[in-house]
Structures are given as structure tokens and as C-alpha cells.
Amino acid sequence: MTSTEQTADTASLPPERTGFFKNLKNGLSVLLSSKTASVGLVIVLFWVIVALFAPLLSPYSPTEQDWRAPNQGPTLKHPLGTDELGRDLWSRLIYGARVVLIVLPISDQVWFPIGTAIWGVIASLLFGASLGLLSGYRGGWMDEIIMRLLDAMMSIPIILLYLIIVTAMGASALNVVIAIAIVGTPGVARLVRSLTLDIRTRDYIRAAETRGESTLYIMFVEILPNAKGPIIIDAMLRVGYAIFAMGTLGFLGLGLPPPSPDWGSMVAKGREFILSGSPWAALWPSIAIASLVVGLNLLADGLREETMRYQ
């Protein structure tokens, strides 16, 4: 080959810097270019930081009772007021956020990092993605069986499904995680399956097949990384649903056992005192749930819009 053919396709482009920080920077710049996502990010970050540093942000423990001051409104001593047992609402609120976002209490002594809602979503992603990949990539009878079973699950109303699972297994943080995982799995599986159906027609999948790669390799190494964008956005929405579900379960008395701070049960308890002139105990956790769910939704929507624009 002559020198003229030393292809100058080779326009000298410096190789893109890779690495964690670079990725983080890219991700952030995408996030911040959308107003919706920025607002969502601020709300979510507020709750994450507050939950992370809860022990430093309040002088009271969430279970410490003050008999002399039940059902108070906001005062200097208690910025958000107290509940019917005189417990500080601010510290109950931020310790409640901790359970949702930062820790998963297994028993009194043992806890895992990363919150209950997030564990639930991670577990549903794990199951859902595996099932979705399998039925999308293999197709045929495998697809039929998996999807019809999941359809059957989806036909049960979600609240009912939560109630059945938690009442059957008992109320604990771990069982809430399991309930969130089971309820979330069909949705994730559907999403991943539809993404897989598209990706598996690409030539790089053909190339992997002509190398005789195993089904598992193709599913998890070739397909999954290319589906991660929509999965991440879906996961953010799902964390929102999971927080909502935790609130619901707590409200119905199926969340964390008392006296642990749980937003749902706080609303349920506080509800009795709304008419007697102390709406605070019910108001704050309601706002907390609502703002966190809305924040996550804004974040996911903004992110989706922004990534769609680049495609």
C-alpha cells in the first residue's frame, strides 16, 4: 500500500480521558444543563445529606421522650415541634430519612449501609434485569413463560401485593426490602426485555455469536451495558415509588416496628391529633415523603430529557 493510503482517517484526536472523575464531571454537566434535573438534584441531595449527618444535626435521639412537652408546635428548642410522646419531630424526621436512604436495619444491633428503599430497588433490578435479558435474548417459550408469569403478578393491585407479602412475612425492614423487590421485578423485566429486543438485533451481538460466546456472556457483557441509561432513569423513579410504598406500609402499621422512626407510622400516629390542633406530627413526614418522591421524579425526568437530546 502506498503512502497516500496511510489513511488520514487518523485525524489525530487525543484519546478521551477516562476514569471515575471524568465520568462524574460529564454526568454532572448533563444534569446541571437541565433545570428540572437540577431542582430534583437539590431536593434529593438535601435529604441524603440530612440523613447522612443525622446524628450531628440534632441534639435529641429520635426515641427520646419529653413528657413535659407533648404535641408542641415549632419552638426554638424543637424546630419542628414534638409528637404526642414529646419526641423531637426534626430528629425523628431525619432519622426516618436515614432508614429510607442510608441504612438498612436488620436487627437492633446489625445494620447494612444504603437505605431500605434503595436496597429494594437494587434487588428488583437484579431479578428484573436477569429475567428481562433472558426472555428478551432467548425468546421463544422461555420468553412466553417468564412474561406470562410476570403479567399474572402485575395483574394484582400493587398495594394488595405489598400487604400480602408483608403480612405473610411479618413487618421488618428486611421484609419491606423483599416486598419492594418482588413488586418491582415485573416492571423492570418488561423494560429490560424491550431494550434487549432492540439491542440483540445489532451487529455486535452477531459478532459475539459468531465467536461462540455463551448466552450469559452476551446477556450481561454485551447487552446489559448498552441498556444502562434507561435502566438508571427507571431506577430513580422506582426509588420514588419504593419510598411511597414504605410510607404506605408504615401508615398501615406494616413498616418498621415502633418505636423506630418511620415516616409512614409517624403520619398514622400524628393523624389522630390533627383535629385537636397539632397537625405537625402528621404534616412534616407527609411533606418529607412528597418532596423526596417529587425530587426523584424531577431528577429522572430531567435526566431523560437531557440524554434524549444528545441521541
Binding site: 488520514a8 459468531t210 465467536r211 448498552n226 444502562k228
Partner: protein, 702 residues
């Protein structure tokens, strides 16, 4: 072209110094700079250039279809003496579809799939003219007949999906011609069509131009297509006109290095790799943001450039009467083009000196690949219906010799892709044997021995889908090396870099992601990945059809060089007959799942021809307006593979049946014989060879 030419009544469109920009988030992107041309009544102006050169933007600019972010920043567009730039969309709407009509690439997208053809056609008339519906219908049917649409009345009641691609494009053209426009803009109207259909549509364009006296702006990336239909040709590069002239002049005497480069990088029909060479244009079209204002835009890819080219921007310079070029050295280019024309190309007729007995690498025997067609009837739900089969590959036998290249050609849907998928094991084989180096490999890929898998690899068509966007180039090439253990683990990276260098990409590509590469570069990485397992055979499924011609030449050269170096056997699928002829030692012509003709490349492209091969060859667009080519057009569509014609599969469309007694009754009833013509050359046809030999050559180059 400093002063606008005087307007005369003959001029339909006159574009003067048109500049167009697109607004993006970052900056104003200049897409088209200072373009001027005129189109007279009954004249076709062809615009050629690679993708990203602003051809389509010009056509959108004329009717202001630039969208929300496009704007005309300068110049004027005079249509029949009226200025179009600055008109409101409402006023333009009245012109578009009436006085100016447009035909775009994808007829599927131009036609509304939920509305019957009749309604879509009549709407054109009723919305622009005061015509009653029955009268409009009558005119539409007449127009459909005019564009040679079979059963025009019935077509009026059909939906888009009930027509073939070629028919759809005919409807679109009919729709465009209904109001007898004075200007017709055609943007790549035949790119999505098969070569035989393309030829028929181009004939139609030529016809209509003559009969309606319409001015046509014809945009294409294909030099052959432009040469066939145009009177004048305008070559665009990076948003500028670099050369313009009469078609015969321009093709015979190119005066701009880019035009010359474009012509030298496509193989001519009838040349082969032994006798000639492709000359790719180095580099690629510069990004719109990186186009210098005050120097020649072509400098980085030009062989002629000097300091002068960098110091000032060349104007359009009239080299010959009516023939302008944007180059300081136009006359030098012209002189050299003329010199090359007269004496070369005949140098390297290397006689096949050592005629070694070819070792057979792959032996396919009576291969069949059928797909079961799910019937929608209730009977079939209970298993009462006979299952129906799409016979994608039906009874194919062939041999591929070691170190040689087998080219497979045929229209889309002829089963060429299915055939190679069967060979590589991606498609389940219904019946037949595939023998590879003495091993029976008629198995799906996951049941094959790892050595067999390693020995057959594949290069894919679509550069955007061939690489996994999630991983770096290095990792993707390293994967087959690790999987097949071709080198010890610690040397894998060195091996990847060696492969990258073999495909003319540097080691710097190791850490890049596919999104950072151009189409040609992606295709090179795809080739490197296929070679990484050190295969004996590589199957190339249309590896260059999605690339621009200048890049295509480089990739073809690369494949040739690799084959010479490693002795790899290639199966090369393409729909471009010139490329296949250039690239292959043996050629198989497929039609509806069967091989119609097979033999050494030079015998396929010379008489005696199979009637189908003859028709294909006569349809190839040749980038030489003076070449004489027979005009054989196939009628009708490719029949369904679900229910292929009896006897000879080609009998429904065969133009040569009349050479047989009874107008070829035998073709409908009996499968034709596989007649040997010469060594290794066979034709599947009832017509006796002596008769076929009497047919002249399809193409006689001027």
C-alpha cells in the same frame, strides 16, 4: 460568478451565492457557503458529493425546509424570476407541491401509511387547484399510467405496505408530477432501491424530463447515477461548489482534485484487482466547525496543494467554456487527467502464471435454509394446516477455494445474507451439508468445535452497529484473542496493537470508544476484530456499502492487502456489481435463494450471460456518460420466496424467454440444467449455450 446571470424565460431556478447556517447550542454552523447555479427548463442538474457536503441542505434551502434552527444567511434563490428567500412559509406552501415538487430518498417516509394512494394523490390536485374529485381521480390514474405503474386503477385503492419499494417511489414521482411543476427536486431518489429498480426509475426520470420540460435538481452520492441522468453536474465538497460543468466534459476532463479523486476511487465495471488499483482520497470531510474561511477547503486531502492554497480562498475559475473549478491548479489537474486517460490501466495484466490446483476450503452441498411461516388461520392453531416455508436458501451447492475470494451478488431478498448466516452457523440449516476443511459444520454455532468457530469470522455491514458502544476498541479486539487463546494472555495488548496497525490505525486507538470513530475507522476495527482469531475464512457482508466512496476504496484496499498477506479466504457479499467484479476471483449470482450463474469473475461479466446476470449488468450505473450500455429492464417484482415460481425461478421476469420455442413453456415446468460453460463456469438456464453466446456484451466502454 460574481454578477448574477441575466434572467431569461428559460431559466427555472437561479441560485446565487447562497449561504446557509445551522444554529446549534455551541455556535452557528456554516453548512453551505456561496453556492450558485442555474437550472433551465428541461435540464437536469446533478449535485454529487460525499455525505456531509451540504447537498441536501441546498435543496432544503431552496424551498426553506431548513427547520427551526436553519437559516439562510446570504444570497438569493430566484424561481421563475421571483425571489424565494425571505418569503413566508405560507407563500412558500403555495409553491411547494405545485410549482416546485420534491422527491426524497425514502418513499416509505414520504407516503402516509394509513391513507390510500388515491386519496394522497388526489389531495395534491384538489388542494392546489379547483378540480372536482372525479376529475382529479382521472388525472391521477392517467399519471400513474404515465409512470408505468401496472394496474393503475387498483393502485389507487392500495395502502403503502401493499406496494414494493420501486412502486412506492413511482407513486411519489407521480405525485410530484401531478401539477406539472417547473422544478423537480430529487434528493437521492434511488439510493434505497435495488439496482434493477433503480435503473427503471432513472429511465422514468429521463422520460418525464423530456415530456414535461421540467427542470430537475438531482442529488446523489453515486457518480454513476448522476452520469446517467444529468445534463450538468455540480460537485460539492464541504458546503462549497468545487466544480461544475456539462456532464460529458466533467467526467472526461475533471478539473478539480476532488472530482478526480472521486472518479479514481470507484472501481469501473470490468476492472479487477489484478489489473487496476483503487485510489482512495486520504482523510475525511472536515467538520463544519473546522472549515477555514480563507483557504482552500480541500488542502488537507489534496495532492496538488501548495502554500498559495493556504494563503487565499480560490474562486470559481472558468477552465473551459461552461466548466468552472475552484482550484488554483485546475489546468494542471486537467492536463494530468487527459494524460492518464490515454495511456494506462493496461500495464498489469499479470497472466495467471502458476495455475496451481486449488485446495477446496469450503464445500457447500445442496444447502437449504427454510423458515417456517406462521399462518394466522384458526386451522393452523390446531396444527391442521400444512406448515408453509419461506425458502430463503434453496438447494445451493458451491465450493470456495483456499485463499480466493468468492463474491455473491443479487438483489435484496435473494438469500445471500441467509446463505452466509447458514455457513457461519447463525441460522439453522434445514437440509444439506457444509464441509469446512473436511469437517462437517452444518451445525448451529453453539454446537460447533471451538476451532471451527475460530476459523470462520465475519465483517458486518453497518459501521454504527458493528462495535459495542460500551467498550473501548482495544477491549473489543482483545476479546476474541482471549477467548481463543491465540497469544498468551500477557501479550494480548501487543497483539491488539499489531492488529490495529495492520488495519492502518495507530496504537492510539486502543483506548477510544466507538462513538469517537468515523464510519471508515469503525469498519477497520470490525475487520481487526474479525482477524484477531486468525481465521482461515472471513465472511464480509456488504462491508463497504454504508461508507462514502472515498473511504470505501481505502477499506477495499485494506481487505485486499490483508488477503495477500495472510492468505485469508473471503466470501464477499455486495450489491454493487463493479465492486464485486473488482474484488472477487469467483462470483455467484443469486436469485430467489438459488444460484443462477457461477464462475470466475471475468467469465460472469462477459458473454455468455445468464439472462438475469445480463439484466443486472445492464442496470449498473456507470460513471461514464459516454459508455454504451444495453437497456434491459426487468418487469414486475421479485416473487415471494414463500411460493417461488415453478420450473426456473426467473421465468416470471426473464427477458430472454422468447429465445426458446413456445416462448419458453419449458421454463415454467422444468428446472433448468446447470450447464457447464467453461472451466468452473456454470449457468442455470434452458437456453442453449450457443444461443447465449450470440448475445453481445452489455457494456462497451467508450
Amino acid at each position: 460568478m460574481d454578477s448574477p446571470p441575466p434572467i431569461d424565460t428559460d431559466t427555472v431556478l437561479s441560485v446565487n451565492n447562497l449561504s446557509i447556517c445551522y444554529k446549534t447550542r455551541k455556535a452557528l454552523v456554516k453548512a453551505v457557503r456561496d453556492v450558485s447555479f442555474t437550472i433551465k427548463r428541461g435540464e437536469t442538474l446533478g449535485i454529487v458529493g460525499e455525505s456531509g457536503c451540504g447537498k441536501s441542505t441546498v435543496s432544503f434551502g431552496i424551498v426553506d425546509f431548513l427547520g427551526a434552527n436553519g437559516l439562510i444567511t446570504g444570497g438569493s434563490v430566484l424561481f421563475e424570476g421571483q425571489e424565494l428567500v425571505g418569503r413566508s412559509q405560507k407563500e412558500l406552501n403555495r409553491l411547494r407541491g405545485d410549482r416546485i415538487a420534491m422527491v426524497y430518498q425514502d418513499p416509505m417516509a414520504a407516503l402516509n401509511p394509513t391513507v390510500r394512494m388515491g386519496e394522497q394523490l388526489t389531495e395534491v390536485l384538489t388542494s392546489h387547484r379547483d378540480i372536482s374529485l372525479p376529475e382529479a381521480k382521472k388525472q391521477c390514474v392517467a399519471m400513474l399510467k404515465r409512470v408505468h405503474m401496472p394496474d393503475a386503477e387498483q393502485v389507487m385503492d392500495r395502502y403503502t405496505h401493499q406496494l414494493s419499494g420501486g412502486q412506492q417511489q413511482r407513486v411519489v414521482i407521480a405525485m410530484a408530477m401531478l401539477n406539472n411543476p417547473s422544478l423537480l427536486i430529487m434528493d437521492e431518489p434511488t439510493t434505497a432501491l435495488d439496482v434493477t429498480v433503480e435503473a427503471a426509475v432513472l429511465d422514468l426520470v429521463e422520460d418525464l424530463k423530456r415530456d414535461f420540460n421540467t427542470g430537475i435538481l438531482f442529488i446523489s452520492h453515486n457518480l454513476g447515477v448522476v452520469a446517467r441522468v444529468s445534463d450538468k453536474v455540480c460537485v460539492m465538497y464541504a458546503g462549497q461548489v468545487v466544480e461544475m460543468g456539462r456532464v460529458t466534459e466533467l467526467f472526461k476532463k475533471p478539473c478539480h482534485p476532488y472530482t478526480k479523486g472521486l472518479m479514481r476511487c470507484v472501481p469501473k465495471l470490468g476492472t479487477d484487482k489484478a489489473g487496476s488499483k483503487l485510489h482512495p482520497i486520504p482523510g475525511r470531510v472536515p467538520h463544519p466547525l473546522k472549515r477555514p474561511e480563507d483557504e482552500c477547503i480541500f488542502v488537507p486531502r489534496c495532492n496538488y496543494s501548495t502554500d498559495k492554497c493556504v494563503q487565499s480562498w480560490p474562486g470559481l475559475y472558468e477552465v473551459l467554456p461552461d466548466h468552472v473549478s475552484r482550484c488554483f491548479y485546475a489546468e494542471k489537474v486537467l492536463k494530468e487527467s487527459l494524460k492518464e486517460k490515454t495511456g494506462n490501466d493496461k500495464k498489469a495484466v499479470s497472466a495467471d502464471a502458476e495455475e496451481q490446483p486449488d485446495e477446496t476450503l469450503l464445500d457447500v452441498d445442496n444447502l437449504k435454509v427454510y423458515y417456517e411461516q406462521q399462518s394466522k388461520s384458526i386451522r393452523s392453531l390446531f396444527g391442521l394446516d400444512e406448515p408453509q416455508y419461506v425458502k430463503a436458501v434453496d438447494d445451493i451447492s458451491m465450493e470456495v477455494a483456499k485463499g480466493k475470494t468468492l463474491g455473491i451478488v443479487g438483489e435484496s431478498g435473494c438469500g445471500k445474507s441467509t446463505l452466509v448466516k447458514g455457513i457461519i452457523g447463525l441460522e439453522e440449516i434445514t437440509d444439506g451439508d457444509i464441509d469446512f476443511l473436511g469437517v462437517d459444520i452444518a451445525l448451529p454455532v453453539d454446537e460447533r468445535q471451538i476451532e471451527t468457530i475460530q476459523d470462520i469470522q465475519m465483517v458486518f455491514q453497518n459501521p454504527d452497529a458493528t462495535l459495542n458502544p460500551a467498550y473501548t476498541v482495544g477491549r473489543q479486539i482483545a476479546r476474541p484473542i482471549r477467548r481463543f487463546g491465540t497469544v498468551p494472555k500477557n501479550q494480548a495488548k501487543a497483539e491488539v496493537i499489531r492488529l490495529l496497525q495492520a488495519v492502518r490505525l495507530g496504537a492510539s486507538y486502543y483506548d477510544r470508544y466507538p462513538r469517537q470513530l468515523s464510519g471508515g475507522e469503525k469498519q477497520r476495527v470490525g475487520i481487526a476484530r474479525a482477524l484477531a482469531s486468525r481465521p482461515d475464512m472471513v465472511i464480509c457482508d456488504e462491508p463497504v456499502s454504508a461508507l462514502d466512496v472515498s473511504v470505501q476504496a481505502a477499506v477495499l484496499n485494506l481487505l485486499l492487502e490483508i488477503q495477500k498477506m495472510l492468505g485469508t479466504t473471503l466470501i464477499f457479499i455486495a450489491h454493487d456489481l463493479s465492486v464485486v467484479r473488482f474484488f472477487s476471483d469467483d462470483v455467484a449470482v443469486m436469485y430467489l435463494g438459488q444460484i443462477m450463474e457461477m464462475g470466475p469473475a471475468e467469465t460472469i461479466y462477459a458473454p455468455p450471460y445468464h439472462p438475469y446476470t445480463e439484466a443486472l449488468l445492464s442496470a449498473v450505473p456507470i460513471p461514464d456518460p459516454e459508455a454504451e450500455q444495453k437497456n434491459i429492464r426487468l418487469s414486475g417484482n421479485v416473487p415471494s420466496a414463500l411460493n417461488p415460481p415453478s420450473g426456473c425461478r426467473f421465468h416470471t421476469r426473464c427477458p430472454r424467454r422468447s429465445m426458446l420455442p413456445d416462448n419458453g413453456m419449458i421454463c415454467e415446468t422444468e428446472v433448468p440444467p446447470w450447464r457447464p460453460v467453461s472451466k468452473g463456469h456454470h449457468i442455470l438456464c434452458h437456453i442453449p449455450l450457443d444461443e447465449l453466446r450470440k448475445i453481445d456484451s452489455v457494456v462497451s466502454a467508450a
